[in-house]
């Protein structure tokens, strides 16, 4: 028996090895075929009222839009819509006249197993195709105006249709509209449009679109440095709790930026942490990850903590955060001179990242750290020496600054004015109530994480029925067993050690 079993075991791995070799043979779908498949999925979604299929289609959007081109779109539109269709004509007008090579056309005809549909597909498909065309137009510089016009038309159609099944696609369309405006450089003009749309979306309880629109508005305000208007928007609207993770990530990022400008560093820190947590993993979205981390580092410095060194060694972040790493080093050593020189060296990059004004605020942090280091290393130091070591301008300044530091609790000590020195006392044991507060914050974060994960668990719709069926079966079996025991068919001895 052992031999036969071994042989069967040997055969099995061979089979499995061959199968994976066969699998890659079917080619990846061409873009037009993928579009057609997606259109079919959308129809299914509408007919079965399950948003899952639409989400699946939209998830493939980012990968798909890099691969599409004019001919792919044209063939897709050709095949999805019946011959004489109004929508087909309007859609085709947006694409330049791409000469469809005959070879491709014949290939499509040959392999097309499904005939061109005779029925007019649902409007969602049209909106989806418009979305693809829009992204395609946005990818090249020359077609921005066309993209804007298309965006306007699509938006009007969407508002007119007002179908719930279109919500998810509508949210994506809004984002594309905003991108179109941004690339054309006209973002302020889009604001009234977005504001009106956000009102209608909240009236219609269209959560996804609402979330997308709030993010679009915040982005347009923050881009133009209108922080107080952004703040008012945040206070007047409630961000829908059922929005997708990506929208939440963006929302928390914008919120963190607003709070950081308003000097509310603790809140900004929490928001940016949430944004990092909800963002897609670093490999799939390196741009967002880097940007959020830049702000995260600056806010942590402003709060007085030094960010972890391992953060800067992360693969995705290493190159992007070199300038910030140097600033962190300067703050840590407390040397104003180093801080100034690093600031000047990387000023251009900070300007581009819009963190310049925040970093300039770090000056006093540098001084505080410098004073703290001095107080830890010296028991008595003259004010003149402090002035020299910290690169301050005069002894008077040093006196005032040290006095302020003592009052703010940065260091403990006394200035003896007549002799002109600072006497530093060792820090008392400060294991006071602040520790429990810190703990409390971290515990709250973990509990929040736990609760949100529980809420986000999904139960497939009919799974409980399967459970019921299983339970039914179990009960049947128990009843039979009980009956048999009663009838004396099975003795207790036979059953064995179970009971």
């Amino acid at each position: 028996m052992a031999d036969i079993e071994m042989k069967a075991g040997d055969d099995k791995p061979k089979d499995t090895k061959e199968e994976p070799k066969e699998e890659p043979k079917p080619e990846p779908l061409t873009p037009s075929e993928e579009i057609k498949a997606n259109a079919a999925q959308i129809e299914r979604a509408v007919s079965s009222l399950e948003p899952r299929f639409t989400h699946r289609v939209l998830r493939s959007l980012t990968a798909l839009r890099k691969r599409i081109d004019d001919s792919a779109l044209q063939t897709a539109i050709d095949s999805i819509y019946p011959k004489e269709s109004e929508t087909k004509k309007t859609l085709l007008t947006w694409l330049p006249e791409a000469p469809a090579t005959s070879a491709e056309a014949t290939m499509e005809v040959d392999s097309a197993s499904k005939p061109t549909s005779t029925a007019e597909p649902v409007p969602e498909v049209e909106i989806y195709l418009r979305l693809l065309i829009l992204y395609h137009l946005l990818s090249s510089n020359s077609t921005y105006d066309k993209a804007l016009q298309l965006a306007h038309q699509t938006v009007e159609k969407m508002q007119a249709l007002n179908r719930r099944s279109m919500d998810a696609i509508a949210a994506k369309v809004w984002f594309a509209v905003q991108r179109a405006y941004e690339l054309a450089g006209d973002l302020p003009d889009a604001r009234p449009l977005f504001l009106a749309a956000q009102r209608t979306a909240s009236l219609r309880h269209d959560d996804e679109a609402q979330a997308a629109l709030i993010n679009c508005l915040l982005r347009s305000y923050i881009q133009y440095n209108l922080y107080d208007q952004a703040d008012k928007l945040v206070s007047k609207t409630t961000f829908p709790a059922s929005a997708s993770n990506a929208q939440f990530a963006r929302y928390h990022y914008y919120l963190g930026r607003i709070k950081a400008v308003q000097l509310n560093y603790t809140d900004a820190h929490t928001n940016l942490e949430q944004a990092i947590r909800r963002a897609p993993p670093a490999r799939t979205a390196p741009g967002f990850y880097q940007v959020v981390h830049k702000y995260f580092v600056v806010v942590e410095l402003l709060m007085g903590d030094i960010p972890d060194r391992s953060l800067f060694r992360h693969q995705v972040l290493e190159k992007a955060l070199t300038a910030y790493f140097e600033i962190v080093k300067a703050v840590r050593t407390g040397s104003l001179a180093q801080f100034q020189s690093t600031l000047q060296k990387h000023a251009a990059q900070f300007e581009a990242d819009k963190t310049y004004s925040l970093i300039v605020r770090l000056r006093q942090n540098v001084i505080k750290t410098g004073i703290r280091r001095l107080s830890l290393s010296y028991s008595r130091i003259s004010l003149r020496d402090i002035c020299v070591k910290l690169n301050l301008d005069s002894e008077e300044d040093a006196e005032y600054i040290v006095g302020k530091a003592i009052r703010d609790g940065v260091i403990e000590g006394r200035i003896v004015h007549e002799k002109g020195w600072l006497e530093c006392s060792t820090q008392a044991n400060n294991y006071g109530p602040e520790v429990s507060e810190l703990f409390g914050r971290r515990i709250a974060f973990c509990l929040n994480l736990h609760n949100q994960s529980v809420k986000a668990m999904r139960y497939p719709l009919n799974a409980h029925r399967k459970e019921l069926a299983a339970a039914e079966g179990a009960r049947e079996r128990e009843k039979e067993l009980a009956k048999e025991i009663q009838e004396g068919d099975i003795d207790e001895d036979d059953i064995g050690g179970d009971f």
Binding site: N225, L226, Y227, D228, D231, V261, Q262, L263, N264, E351, Y356, S357, R361, R363, Q364, I367, L392, D393, S394, E396, D397, E399, Y400, I401, V402, G403, K404, A405, I406, R407, G413, R414, I415, V416, H417, E418, G432, P433, S436, E437, G440, I443, L447, H450, N451
Partner: protein, 261 residues
């Protein structure tokens, strides 16, 4: 529109007279504002005549400066917020006004004196970085804020002479009062005792009697014979246990733990 024009000319005359005739100016301004509203210029919507916009902006600027000179801060607030639309939204259409940056700088200093640091920074964000570093009117309040935050009060004291415009001096004087209180509280914690002469210098007083009154206000002991000011020693504070917070936190933890199935 014609009486609007005549009122406008009268206002200009009153304002530019040396010394400025503030009373007439303050009387003329409300009438002008009503005129502007009737002409639809106070809150311009859409395309309005170019020249009218310039005139309207001018009137509002004069109003802002007059209110500063008459020490009327709330009305300066109102004028400034009305001027915001002219500065931000129509910046591309209108020629830049000479008075724009002084008025912006005045607004920043006003926020500083009222200790609204968050608003100060938010307003600062809306200005481009090169303006902040180059324009004297803006640089002045920015530097003031930086020195205040660091604690180099002597620089602030020396800066009062360098105010770029007349109106700034008014704010700086009120700032001095705040600064004195700050320095005093710093000294209470940092020093055990200070010789009188040095205390006078540190607090920017000119003579000892001012110092004595100030010290009595703050509750310091003056030791005339020894010539020193003694600060009340703060004893070891008993750590207040934040009972409420601890109880609330513990209850929260208990509830969350119970919810874990």
């Amino acid at each position: 529109m014609s009486d609007l024009k005549s009122l406008y000319l009268a206002l200009q005359r009153a304002f530019y007279a040396q010394p400025s005739d503030l009373n007439t100016a303050t009387e003329l301004l409300p009438q002008l504002k009503i005129g502007l509203i009737q002409a639809g210029l106070l809150l311009p919507q859409g395309d309005v005549n170019f020249q009218d916009l310039v005139v309207a902006r001018d009137i509002l600027e004069i109003g802002a400066l007059t209110s500063i000179r008459s020490r009327d801060i709330p009305s300066f607030d109102r004028y400034f917020s009305q001027l915001q639309t002219f500065y931000t939204d129509y910046a591309s259409n209108l020629p830049p006004s000479k008075r724009e940056y002084p008025i912006r700088g005045l607004n920043l200093i006003r926020l500083l004196t009222q200790n609204r640091i968050a608003d100060f920074h938010t307003t600062l964000e809306s200005l481009p970085a090169d303006v902040i570093s180059d324009n004297t009117f803006i640089r002045h309040p920015v530097n003031l804020e930086r020195w205040l935050m660091e604690g180099s009060y002597s620089k602030v004291w020396n800066a009062r002479e360098e105010a770029p415009a007349e109106e700034y001096k008014f704010f700086i004087d009120s700032l001095m009062g705040t600064i004195r209180n700050e320095i005093a509280s710093c000294e209470e914690t940092a020093y055990e005792s200070l010789p009188l002469k040095d205390a006078v210098n540190l607090l920017f007083f000119t003579n000892q009697s001012d110092l004595v009154t100030f010290a009595q206000q703050r509750g310091w002991e003056i030791d005339i014979t020894g010539g020193a000011v003694r600060f009340a020693q703060k004893g070891e504070e008993k750590m207040e246990i934040p009972k409420q917070k601890l109880i609330a936190a513990s209850l929260l933890y208990a509830r969350e733990l119970e919810q874990i199935v």
